[in-house]
Symmetry: C2
């Protein structure tokens, strides 16, 4: 029987308990087996619960802690001085087996450093990776990693990212997930040494369905289920999607805000579009997962609203049910065995 308890960093993100508390309550009603431990300042959490008319909930408990990590804190400082922070206590709960997953909208660098320190890496994994799902034009999704857990990677790490991404994607698919490497050309001769070495390793791996290189303009075309790249490139790429999407939304909003008949009509015709466009920023919409650890860690966007934070909790539930960390271990073992014999 799985322990569907999720530890929530109630204090993280731009809005803290004002977002995390209502999101938890919504998630509890969506997932009947879910239990939530809200970690943070008890009085702030209680206040938000009261606003929602809740004084007690059978599947919700509070773990009081006074310390919180601000967004300006360096990872090294977080490790040294913030062991009692809401974020760190959440990770302790997973490390001790009281919870199966952590969801936090707090400081990304601190979350990565503390996660690695408290949960440890899975055997065979050298570096954790941040992964999120891009939407595709055909309403499927493509997992992309690393989105910035590392500022540089070697070919071995990229190979491990491919294994981790495959383990995450295979639950959504009937066939083997298609794995591609993000590159600056589709031809075999193009790209830097890193992608070329990784391509060689992936083509030789029998248990990975490697489909070749992919360029930035193909990201949403459903040509791969998993896209691997180093963390610097992945982070730039994700944020560029975000920036381009924002530019479009702003342009449309400009058109809609004019006092002309056209503006009036567009205001009535296009609102649903914005809801759809929101999903284009997966990090903001659904949260990103930190893979490669002995536990499930979901990073929600700092500016997440109630719906977005609830989606991040939903992602945690999804990964707990599918036991992603042990799936990664199993897959890695198969692939490594095959390479050794």
């Amino acid at each position: 029987m799985q322990n569907l308890t999720v530890a929530l960093d109630a204090m993280g993100g731009d809005f803290g308990p004002r977002v995390t508390v209502p999101a938890s309550v919504q998630a509890l009603s969506h997932f009947p087996a879910l239990k939530v431990i809200l970690v943070g300042d008890q009085s702030s959490i209680t206040r938000e619960l009261h606003k929602l008319g809740i004084s007690e909930h059978a599947r919700l408990s509070i773990r009081h802690t006074e310390q919180t990590i601000s967004n300006n804190e360096k990872p090294s400082v977080a490790l040294r001085h913030f062991q009692q922070s809401s974020m760190a206590v959440c990770l302790d709960l997973v490390a001790q087996g009281e919870a199966s997953a952590v969801v936090s909208a707090g400081n990304t660098g601190a979350l990565m450093a503390l996660s690695r320190f408290k949960l440890k890496l899975l055997p065979g994994i050298d570096r954790p990776a941040l992964v999120s799902a891009l939407p595709t034009a055909s309403n499927k999704r493509t997992w992309m990693l690393d989105l910035g857990a590392n500022i540089s990677s070697d070919a071995d790490s990229l190979f491990q990212f491919a294994v981790m991404g495959s383990a995450l994607a295979e639950n959504d698919l009937s066939s083997q997930p298609r794995v591609a490497i993000l590159n600056i050309g589709e031809e075999e001769i193009k790209g830097n040494d890193l992608v070329k070495r990784c391509a060689e390793m992936l083509s030789q791996a029998e248990n990975i369905n490697y489909v070749g290189y992919i360029e930035g303009n193909q990201l949403f075309n459903d040509v791969a289920d998993v896209i691997v790249c180093d963390g610097f490139v992945g982070n730039v790429c994700l944020k560029t999607c975000e920036g381009t999407a924002q530019l479009f939304v702003d342009k449309l909003k400009n058109w809609m805000s004019t006092s002309s008949v056209r503006g009036w009509l567009l205001r009535r015709l296009l609102p649903d579009l914005f809801k759809e466009l929101k999903t284009l920023n997966p990090d903001q919409y659904n949260g990103a997962s930190l893979l490669g650890l002995r536990g499930i860690v979901i990073k929600s966007h700092g500016s997440a609203d109630v719906t977005a934070f609830e989606n991040a909790i939903g992602e945690a539930v999804h990964e707990v049910k599918r036991q992603i960390p042990s799936r990664i271990s199993d897959r890695l073992e198969t692939v490594l065995l095959e390479r050794h014999y």
Copy 2:
């Protein structure tokens, strides 16, 4: 007196003379001082001119050559076996002083290799860079480089990119162009060694208006006039803009194509939007420039239509008038002098 003669690779791109010839004729009527040398297969070029009812034009000449370079040819093969290709002959015309600029929609790798071989690098420049202008939300433009002329770069090259970008941008501005480095965080502590080293060099350069790091989601926010990054990252970034923009356009088109009243109304309300959205793909719209050479080389997108190819010719005219190569040299000399004394 400037020589406003532009050598056009008539055979390059997906459509060859069918696009390059009408685009040249349009450009000639827009720029009264422009002279064009169309380089390629004489009979194909003449046929397209006849279609336009032109048998002779005082400012248009044809340089016949039979060889063309396909998109699959490797740069090394282009260098060895395609010295008489339309692209190579265009570059010869610039090297010999008969033309001031080349515009080609042909094989990018071949164009870069042949340009470097035939035109040579400017003194003080180690690597050429591909640059293009992104539109900003406030209808200005931001020059970004390198977009893929190099698959990797060191801090010295990035510094030179900043100098070249500044020389290109200063014509549009009354004040010193603001230079930023593309990074995965805005904080000083973030980023890889490459960006950190380049940041240090740029902060110390008195003649560069360095404004710090920029993230992918800020590209269109008019926070910099010049953005520097290595060619791998820049190419992924540009193509990601293209892919995201395409996804949006496709979504809007879906909405517009429905047979409902809403679809009908949107078809009438939104057509101008697509024109505006097209400018979001600068590479496709305006061409990219190869900077750092002793001559002006404009790379048009392979799939450019007549308008886009004409825009690329316009960019060539713009750069000839502003004598970009000698401006780069001057600026580089000032910056280097300052560093040595």
